[in-house]
């Protein structure tokens, strides 16, 4: 394996090596890689496979099984909207339509300027405050289209 000019390989190798002694280390490694890069870059699979003594196909099989692991870099802000039953009972379908319109994105898409990524989520455990969404690490409940617009404006206002 050759060194990558951007240090990507070294970073992945160091994550994988530090966790490889855990029984069933693959998921913890993938989580760490995604935490570091925002996604699991395709080229990291061979490195992880090498450290864990697995085939690249095996690693790919695991990565592709789990919804959490992204294969593309996300936008600056990741917005996840709950589509599940309790939120549906409180207007999630309308909220989803509103958010898609507002961000001009479908689920799974990232805006061209890399600002937002929109993802569906199937219950956030915030069903008693439906409908629920998350923006990056923050969770929000009782989100109406209007409250969403306010949250978005706040985000834009912070310029963050």
């Amino acid at each position: 394996m050759r060194n990558s000019p951007d240090g990507h390989e070294e970073a992945v190798r160091s994550i994988a090596s530090s966790l490889r002694y855990k029984p069933g280390a693959l998921l913890p490694i993938l989580h760490k890689v995604q935490e570091r890069f925002g996604y699991v870059p395709a080229r990291s699979l061979a490195v992880i496979a090498d450290v864990l003594n697995l085939s690249r196909a095996e690693v790919y099989g695991v990565v592709s099984f789990y919804h959490d692991f992204r294969s593309e870099p996300p936008g600056e802000h990741v917005i996840r909207v709950c589509r599940a039953e309790s939120c549906q009972a409180m207007g999630a379908v309308e909220l989803v339509a509103h958010i898609k319109r507002k961000l001009k994105l479908d689920f799974g898409q990232t805006s061209a300027n890399q600002r937002f990524t929109l993802e569906p989520v199937y219950c956030l455990g915030n069903c008693a405050c439906s409908p629920a969404i998350t923006i990056d690490q923050e969770i929000y409940g009782r989100v109406t289209p209007r409250r969403f617009d306010d949250l978005l404006a706040e985000l834009e206002g912070r310029g963050g």
């Binding site: 029984p23 069933g24 039953e85």
Partner: protein, 521 residues
């Protein structure tokens, strides 16, 4: 004078601005030199009142809610630190009807104590169950759990004592206990509330299980959607280790036990226990054939107890007060208390812990106050995404395992999701199929392919293409899924679909007569 203010940091409260409220309380308090102390707690589970704050008064704790950060100034002005009146005044917390009429055994401390203060846990009766367990042998512990009648709270309702006995009797040098904290069912949040409100309870329950069967290592498989739970758990584990409640020599007993949190990765199927074990082993979450059951051959091929978080959380009190005490609650073969999670379109959503046997009507109307929209209740889904939809006419059903089964429904993890009369039940049926297709592990054809076909068939029904034929096809497909699936994802998805069809044929464009006529070919 030093006053104490309690502010929840449960995800639900945070999602409604509890952090901003805490910050405002702090800065106002400091500015006034009021000498206030802010304690962060879990949630009492009265979510329509969140963020709900409490203050200590000579008469006990008094609540205010729902509080917005902008209300804080007026709360100080009104003298809330002395429990005085205010627009948001709710009175003594324990006297709020919703809470007062509950029977909180598992949730006794949630919302009351600081989840990360081990001394508070101890002061409120924590670790008494473990102390008793340390004086008992594995068989005796199993005996108490058996006597309690405790059944698994994750969905399948299997007797916990039998599972533990099997794992106890399995011979192996290494055994494991695994907590299922995947809480994938939409409409459920009780596991989360324990993790964020009373994490030592889970740690204690798992330690008792480990002691019982002789396991030295445990895992908590936590869904990645719960970052706040994750943080609280890690903190609690560290504190427990520092004080000798976990580690090489648990409370000087000479027995080792430690716990590690492992994160899921957004796969619903990993809540199924064998898929979870695969996932813990670092593989795709594919459901295993059984036998062998995990209690005999589980994680890394070793005997493993897998229980839902609430199952473990029910154990400390059973050990502390005895199986007989726990068994006195409940009805028939459903013993103890049930943590109901009331959500969806309801005025007062929240956590309701009651002995088994309370009816849906009581839960939805007396506790929940009817729909949030003020419209008629039309359908109620009990037991998560694989649970049946019940019509208004069946809300007299008591919530226990057998009574629900008799109605072709199931209790699952205790989620109750209410829909008003604007719901389109054909759309809900379609969603159930879509969800199954999305989350199928792919091991068996009826589930993997059937769910995709099911979505298409419902689409055809909705677009009015040969309705009767397609309804017959849908029923047939559901039969195939029911009988040809390896696990309950494929096996139970027909439950929401067929119950929607049966009780709400008009939403599928059918009169009840035409529904009858649509027999499977």
């Amino acid at each position: 004078m030093n006053s104490t203010i309690y502010v929840p940091q449960d995800s639900g409260a945070l999602s409604l601005g509890a952090e901003q409220v805490a910050r405002a309380l702090k800065s106002h308090g400091e500015r006034l030199g009021a000498g206030t102390r802010i304690v962060r707690t879990g949630s009492r589970g009265l979510y329509w009142l969140e963020p709900m704050i409490e203050v200590d008064t000579p008469q006990g704790r008094v609540a205010y809610g729902p509080v917005n950060a902008t209300d804080v100034g007026s709360l100080f002005d009104a003298g809330f630190l002395d429990g005085r009146g205010h627009r948001l005044f709710l009175g003594p917390t324990e006297e709020i009807g919703y809470l007062k009429n509950q029977e909180r055994l598992t949730f006794a401390r949630v919302g009351i104590i600081d989840p990360c203060a081990l001394d508070e846990y101890l002061a409120h009766g924590g670790y008494r169950g473990l102390e008793r367990a340390l004086e008992m042998g594995g068989a005796q512990i199993v005996g108490e759990v058996m006597l309690s009648g405790l059944r698994g709270r994750g969905g399948a309702a299997f007797p916990a004592g039998i599972k533990w006995k099997t794992a106890l009797e399995a011979y192996a040098h290494q055994k494991y206990v695994v907590c299922n904290a995947d809480e994938g069912d939409a409409g459920t949040f009780a596991d989360r509330m324990i993790m964020e409100g009373d994490p030592f309870l889970l740690i204690e329950g798992m330690t008792i299980a480990a002691l019982c069967i002789g396991a030295s290592q445990g895992y908590i498989y936590l869904r990645s959607e719960y970052p706040h739970s994750h943080r609280t758990l890690e903190r609690a584990l560290e504190l427990a280790r520092n004080r000798g409640y976990l580690g090489k020599n648990v409370l000087g007993s000479g027995k080792p036990f430690d716990l590690e949190v492992r994160l899921g990765a957004g796969a619903y199927i990993c809540g199924e226990e064998t898929a979870m074990l695969e996932s813990l082993e670092g593989k795709r979450g594919m459901v295993r054939y059984r036998p062998p059951v995990p209690a005999v051959k589980g994680l890394f091929g070793k005997p493993t107890i897998v229980n839902n978080l609430l199952t473990f959380a029910s154990v400390p009190i059973i050990l502390e007060k005895g199986g007989q005490f726990y068994k006195e609650y409940g009805t028939g073969r459903s013993r103890g208390t049930l943590a109901l999670q009331l959500a969806g379109n309801v005025k007062r959503p929240g956590l309701i812990e009651k002995a088994f046997g309370v009816t849906l009507n009581e839960i939805i109307y007396e506790y929940g106050g009817g729909t949030a929209s003020g419209r008629r209740v039309r359908a109620v889904q009990v037991g998560g995404p694989l649970g049946a939809y019940l019509p208004e006419s069946e809300l007299d059903t008591p919530l226990d395992y057998e009574a629900l089964a008799a109605r072709g429904a199931m209790l699952g993890h205790g989620g109750v999701v209410v829909f008003d009369d604007t719901v389109d039940m054909a759309r809900m049926a379609r969603y159930a199929m879509e969800f199954c297709a999305l989350e199928s592990c792919g091991k068996c054809t009826p589930c993997r392919i059937g769910a995709v076909r099911g979505t298409e068939v419902i689409d055809r029904i909705l677009s009015n293409a040969e309705r009767t034929t397609n309804v017959a096809l849908l029923k047939d497909l559901c039969e195939t899924m029911k009988f040809g699936s390896l696990c309950a994802l494929g096996g139970l998805t027909p439950l929401p679909v067929l119950s929607a069809l049966k009780h709400f044929p008009e939403d599928f464009g059918l009169s009840p007569e035409r529904l009858e006529a649509a027999q499977a070919p």
